[in-house]
Symmetry: C2
Subunit: 338 residues, 2 copies
């Protein structure tokens, strides 16, 4: 292996990684064995298993109608935002500076929530533009709590991952929304097995060492609030609007502000080197999203107007070189900036 | 996990790694399964299996006498140096600047070679100080070539490694020497399974990210030559002496000049942060030495006066983040120096 002669270690890092790894995702057609999976974990490299969950009861039965009947009378926590921007960098105030916008969370009757999601997706686009966006995305192990009655429609865990990683899932989450919700580019300290049930998800993925490309900034925290004051409105607008409240004494949140789908905006000098790995999950597909990979996730709905997924988070391994080396890339790229 | 607040990313990297990993080697008492092995590969973390090769024919039979009889009449390649410094940074010339000293290589009758090794080890220490050092250490798959007649006394490969890594060994090497030979701190792009047969080996190990501690310098290449001119001598000194020849138009060799056993010499500002993992292999012990780990190796002899080991080199995986990130640490620490 020849040494790349290159002035800038950060550019060299990103380019060498791309040369050695490419940016096309590996596609499998059956689940890996624990050993095969461990080889991907060792390489910190994603793969998708097409159709791995095609025969799960969830994939076969979770239509909008089925879910509505199954959860009738139950209350669920819903993330509400004006434009589908839960946990996303969002312009605020007169100067439009970016803050980290957390959603307004409220409990809703499941049927009411689901009808809203479906009707928004199927309604005329003008109306769609102007109405708030609702996404069930609590990420607190909700499939074993809020949605526990549905839990036996999916696998209790992912055997190849449990055996390889020697641990049970830390959280199993349900995600229900429509095409208005987008999850902004971010990373998690988990090994993630993500399973599409209905509709499609579109992932843009970048390895941890692309930190210098994503333009991490410390953003002021903010959250949406429903302004209960303006509860009177026309029939068209009975829902009180959302206001973005700055949390003035909250700690700033380090967050990527570069968006792989608007590469010219908020770019760093390294963003143009990033070549996101893109993959669309169809119902029944299973994605291995390795720990610390950046991911941006958008969605398309089933003909019925919903998008449903479940995912399994396994605690990552902090031993070994990956975690400290990823932090090192971050520290070096921060030093460069200051 | 809290972020360490630290000014210097390199120091932070080394300290964080130590905090998360410690510097004690894991000891197993039976060979791992391929999956268990793959977990160590994924963590790029060494382990030793005590007694894994106790029942190999080699471990049971390879005494000095046995080897001498078995290989009688065969010729082997021997690395010859004045003080056991094959492939080692060595002071040269009037200013004592370090060069990369390669051994003089010559073919010797196996019996003659082995007797020399044994007698040097068992002779009085005064004589030991003044005589050249011989080490059979060709590292060119010699156990399947030069020493092929002995190959079926060891395993043909290491099944857990072959299955996990999905490849056959690239090289299987035999090492025969005495306590005068020391292998200087260096790293290899191989996954290494190292098996002690007779005598003991003492390893000092450092992970790839300790590059900033080892003081890598570009050294001029040099090699020892036997000066055939002075072939006349007293009976005490029938062997012509060795001269160190500079290879003036050879390419410089990037090499660690810090020695974990003389930590105050040739230190960088980070050397004091390195805490070498130390392990001694007894006959029958097996070490997993992960790719790109720095290792310094010294040896003690069996009562008979020899030290014998074999090792299996498997090509490493260049995909994934470890290889580019290790190079990144190197580039950043080089930038810091210039
Ligand atoms: O499905 C989404 O909207 C986001 C998924 C995600 O970020 C995750 O699984 O970590
Ligand atoms: O045994 C020795 O002297 C050195 C071993 C070594 O460097 C290796 O196995 O890579």
């Amino acid at each position: 292996m020849e040494e790349t002669q290159c002035q800038d270690p950060i550019a060299e890092l990103i380019v060498t990684y791309k040369e050695l790894n490419g940016s096309t995702i590996e596609e499998l057609y059956e689940e890996p064995s624990p050993l095969e999976f461990m080889r991907y974990v060792a390489k910190n490299t994603p793969f998708v298993v097409r159709g791995a969950a095609s025969n799960w009861k969830a994939t076969k039965t979770w239509s909008a109608k089925y879910l509505e009947e199954y959860l009738r009378g139950e209350t669920v926590n819903v993330a509400v935002t004006p434009v589908g921007n839960a946990d996303a960098p969002t312009p605020q105030g007169p100067d439009g500076s970016l803050v980290f916008a957390k959603p307004w969370e409220e409990d809703q009757q499941f049927g009411e929530f689901l009808n809203y999601v479906v009707q928004q997706e199927q309604g005329d686009s003008q109306k769609q533009q102007n109405t708030e966006v609702r996404y069930a995305q609590t990420q607190n192990d909700n499939l074993r709590h809020e949605y526990a009655s549905l839990f036996n429609h999916v696998q209790q865990d992912i055997p190849f991952a449990r055996i390889a990683l020697q641990r049970d899932p830390e959280a199993i989450n349900m995600w229900i929304g429509n095409s208005r919700s987008v999850t902004a580019l971010h990373k998690d300290n988990y090994e993630n097995i993500y399973v599409q049930i209905a509709g499609r998800k579109h992932f843009a993925l970048l390895p941890p060492l692309c930190h210098p490309c994503v333009n991490e900034q410390r953003l002021k925290p903010a959250h949406y609030e429903r302004s209960s004051s303006s509860s009177s409105g026309t029939e068209e607008e009975i829902v009180p609007p959302l206001r973005l409240e700055l949390e003035n004494d909250g700690e700033t949140v380090p967050f990527a502000i570069w968006d792989p789908d608007r590469p010219a905006e908020n770019a760093t000098e390294y963003s143009h080197l990033a070549e996101p790995m893109r993959v669309t999950l169809e119902p029944g597909d299973m994605l291995y999203l390795p720990c610390m990979w950046y991911h941006k996730v958008s969605q398309s709905c089933s003909p019925e107007g919903i998008c449903v997924a479940v995912n399994y988070w396994y605690d990552m391994e902090f031993g070994g070189p990956l975690y400290p080396l990823s932090n090192f890339v971050r520290s070096v790229s921060k030093m460069n900036k200051t």
